[in-house]
């Protein structure tokens, strides 16, 4: 029995939820960024699955763009993390709750 | 279990064993050629002309004590050489090394001399090259010593910088050959022009070949780009704290990466297994000769050229090689468009 579209979508939903839970639960900036990457990957999986079920390659093109944007966002996000760490010596987002720099 | 399946499993095993042997042979060749270049004898005691030297080396390495620094992360320390070695072997899985053969009629259909025939073979090689960075960076980090960390960071930064030029050189080949499958590209290089000039891609893409070889040498951390593991600079770079079999795995990974880069260069640029005077079923002899020539060139370069300093190395990779490879790609694409493929 081959996996159906619903199987892939369900798997993608599970991964997306895990990513969201990671963003809310974790108290480490880098792990929060990693959880965002998990979410983006879940969305990629959805796109490719749908693209396959419609028989076009558009899903893969969109994934190509999502990956590019994810790379750019990871780079800038990590640069921000480095700048924040240099200032406050901590990666806990709770240390940055006050607007005072 | 059809005969073809048995043959394929046998082929996989054969490739694995041959890669291990090639690493051993490279150990001997490196030391002997280095010695001859430096006008000394090299290994000559063990076996006739020192030919059993690699066996002696392996035995020595196996009997050494396996050290692990106390502050090292145990899981990552053990994982890093495994990643390096696995990536090195895996990259060779998509490299074809001979024409389809039926082993003199034993098989019903011809067996492609390639462990895995994927139609995106070039991309797979590139992907595995980018995974081999992890072995080095984890080795440097998990050893928890300054020389290792510096060596690991520098080495991995070097590898990811030269990956770009590597990929663009591959892309130029793709534009000319119109296929991502290595077997197609090799078969495209059969025959000759004017009767004596072989239709190798190196004649259509000389700059691409140079860029590929330079980036390949930098990717495998060999001279003149071996600053991160140079003895005079960083003790031994990222594999300072490793001993015995883990060190042997790093060494193995380095030599097999060299073999893979040479094999891919042979397939892409030098015509693979096509050559005169031999029937196509014996083409693997030509393949071996060409790969051997490139490997000899590798060793020759190591013992002849001085080493690049790290900042020179990085600036060369980004400011010279990358623009050159982009220009090469543009010119190639324009040429293909103009001459109609």
């Amino acid at each position: 029995m081959m996996p159906t579209l619903n199987d892939y979508l369900l798997l993608s939903a599970v991964l997306f939820t895990i990513g969201t839970a990671g963003v809310f639960v974790r108290r480490n900036l880098i792990t929060i960024l990693l959880s965002i990457e998990i979410m983006l990957n879940a969305v990629n999986l959805t796109f490719v699955a749908f693209g396959r079920s419609f028989g076009t390659a558009d899903g893969q093109i969109i994934v190509f763009f999502v990956m590019t944007v994810a790379a750019a966002e990871a780079a800038v996000g990590l640069a921000i993390v480095i700048a924040l760490f240099r200032h406050r010596e901590s990666l806990n987002p709770d240390s940055f709750t006050s607007l005072k720099w | 279990m059809t005969p073809l399946l048995i043959a394929q499993l046998g082929l996989t095993l054969f490739v694995f064993v041959m890669l291990l042997n090639s690493a051993a042979v490279m150990v001997y060749v490196e030391r002997k050629v280095a010695a001859l270049l430096q006008q000394r004898l090299g290994p000559y005691l063990v076996g006739p002309k020192g030919l059993l030297q690699p066996i002696a080396d392996v035995i020595k390495l196996m009997f050494k004590e396996e050290l692990r620094p106390r502050a090292a992360d145990p899981f990552l320390f053990a994982l890093a050489p495994m990643i390096s070695a696995t990536a090195a072997f895996a990259a060779f899985a998509v490299v074809p090394f001979g024409a389809d053969t039926t082993f003199f009629g034993l098989l019903d259909e011809p067996l492609r001399l390639q462990v895995a025939d994927v139609n995106v073979a070039i991309l797979v090689i590139f992907a595995i090259a980018s995974m081999s960075v992890y072995g080095i960076v984890l080795a440097g980090w998990s050893s928890n010593s300054k020389y290792s960390l510096l060596g690991g960071l520098r080495s991995s930064a070097q590898m990811i910088s030269y990956e770009l030029s590597y990929g663009l050189a591959l892309a130029s080949v793709l534009v000319v050959a119109n296929s991502l499958s290595l077997t197609d590209i090799v078969n495209r290089q059969a025959g000759t022009w004017f009767g004596f000039v072989p239709r190798w891609l190196v004649f259509l893409q000389p700059l691409g070949f140079l860029i590929y070889m330079t980036a390949g040498v930098a990717e495998t951390n060999r001279a003149p780009f071996d600053f991160p593991e140079a003895e005079q600079e960083l003790v031994a770079g990222y594999h300072t704290e490793y001993s015995s079999m883990s060190f042997a795995m790093f060494f193995l990974a380095e030599y097999i990466n060299m073999v893979t880069v040479s094999a891919v260069a042979t397939d892409l640029f030098l015509g693979g297994w096509h050559g005169p005077f031999l029937p196509l079923s014996l083409g693997w002899i030509w393949f071996l000769l060409k790969v051997g020539a490139i490997l000899f060139f590798y060793v020759w370069m190591r013992w002849t050229l001085p080493r690049y300093r790290y900042d020179q190395l990085m600036s060369f990779g980004w400011k010279v090689l990358l623009p050159l490879s982009v220009v090469n790609l543009l010119v190639t694409a324009a040429g293909v468009l103009y001459f109609g493929g």
């Binding site: 159906t4 619903n6 990513g19 792990t31 558009d58 990956m67 760490f85 | 960071l153």
Partner: protein
Amino acid sequence: MTLFYLFGAIAVVASLLVIAQRNPMYSVLLLILSFGALSGLYVLLEAPFVAVIQIIVYAGAIMVLFLFVVMLLNEPKEDTEEARLRLVVAPGAAQMGAILAVALIGELGWALTRTGGQSGAFPAGAVTSVAAIGRLLFNDYSFPFEVTSILILVAMVGAVVLARRESRRSDGA
């Protein structure tokens, strides 16, 4: 089907461990494992180009970036006592969170699997060739393609500026 379950299980378990691990280095490595499993799923979905690009870009480049930053910042483990305390700041908060997470999965699953009459099975199709993707990319999607190049340039410049040390900047600059 077994391959789907295998890759899916690896992806889910690795992602769970990513958010449960305390050591950020292990989190990064587990995420690489998860990406590898996703790449396998893409191959099952007959998208070899995306599978290889996933390894090259995500597992091979973005994760190396994460690894470098983790090594640079070198915060060994996060303060788990603090984290645990914050999780149970309200009584039953963790349990409520877990229930809501399961509810989210349920809702997403229900929304995504409503087929509206179709069976949901994939049509028999060939592997999308890289040439077809290239043609689509440069014909129909050429504008987003050019815009992403500007995006990457902006991100590169931004990252360099953001991560620069402040002390080297003079007051007049």
